[in-house]
Symmetry: C2
């Protein structure tokens, strides 16, 4: 259908580019393009600038691997956090959820993913060497593995547990109060606070 109508190039390019968004196919990309051009050109302009600003203005925190504008993020720089405990999460969204439980005062390491052999995501893709260097700084005493309680998250936790314990660190996992098979982002803050309290050695 795309070839039939001589579609103006900027429109074709926009529809194509919108497909880089996860979960957006040809049809919804087209609808999004029409909507922005017809009803919200100011929003499209805003989004254009926000994308450029985020891609060029953000980098990974040298300590926790989360997104930040600076060399080291505000959380890692916060002197009130307990530097002896490091909580490993899959994504910044999971970190947000743990913060919202008000049950944790330590620091974080954000994997930005999880082991997924079926998708070809291995330890090298997640730069586990960076996490190991961070955890073995001599200050961290305990690593809490807070990956998701999905098959991939459990695999990741198991794998990391071996690596970290071999280096003499205490390794714990969130208590199994979190319903099995669920993702942290969708769990209520109270359950997470409780699971933090009940965390156990792996």
């Amino acid at each position: 259908m795309d070839e039939l109508l001589p579609e103006p190039e900027p429109l074709r390019a926009l529809i194509e580019a919108l497909r880089h968004l996860p979960g957006v196919g040809a049809r919804s990309a087209r609808r999004m393009a029409y909507h922005l051009l017809q009803h919200d050109p100011a929003g499209a302009d805003l989004l254009s600038r926000a994308l450029a600003g985020a891609v060029h203005g953000l980098r990974h925190c040298a300590r926790c691997n989360g997104f930040t504008e600076d060399e080291v993020c505000a959380t890692c720089r916060n002197p009130k956090r307990d530097e002896a405990v490091l909580c490993v999460v899959e994504t910044p969204a999971d970190q947000n959820m743990i913060e919202s439980s008000h049950g944790y005062r330590g620091l974080y390491y954000v994997l930005m993913g999880r082991l997924a052999p079926l998708e070809g995501v291995g330890p090298g893709d997640l730069q586990f060497d960076r996490l190991l260097a961070r955890a073995c700084d001599g200050v961290v005493r305990e690593v809490i593995l807070a990956t998701n309680f999905t098959a991939e998250g459990e695999t990741t936790a198991h794998y990391l547990s071996e690596l970290l314990r071999a280096r003499g660190l205490a390794v714990t996992r969130l208590a199994r109060g979190v319903p099995a098979g669920s993702e942290l982002e969708y769990v209520d803050a109270g359950t997470i606070a409780w699971a933090l309290m009940e965390r156990r050695s792996t």
Copy 2:
């Protein structure tokens, strides 16, 4: 949840801006932002430029109201099209579908919407005066109303039919071969070709 973690400003701005996309809520905006930053920064850059290019490079065709880079679009400039017939559609996607039926050689007018009293969309919002001026150029003899066969599309067709017939134009509607209640974009090309052939006076 957004206030708890000191989220870097460019990330917050990106998540906020992604919500301008139709059907994208807070949670999927966040997932899209993480995905682009972590896995597809080149795609984000591309999308940023495509948005700017489309918003600043496209305008409405002076004749058919469709999107174009020029004063008048390629379809309206095509000397092989029959200038005596004007087909009125709701969106460029509908125009694409009609082109794909290979059953039409006339010109188009794109409403970029439809009457929707419940949403507060009236004749003024759709600039019906522009359509009337276009249809009354003295060359157009017949106007085919190809708005959707939904309640809003039928209302729009009925309303336009009155206006156009009062000005002495022949007004037809796509034959009711198109299943009632459906949207043109989702109908197969053969059915549309047949409905064009069977079009009737309103």
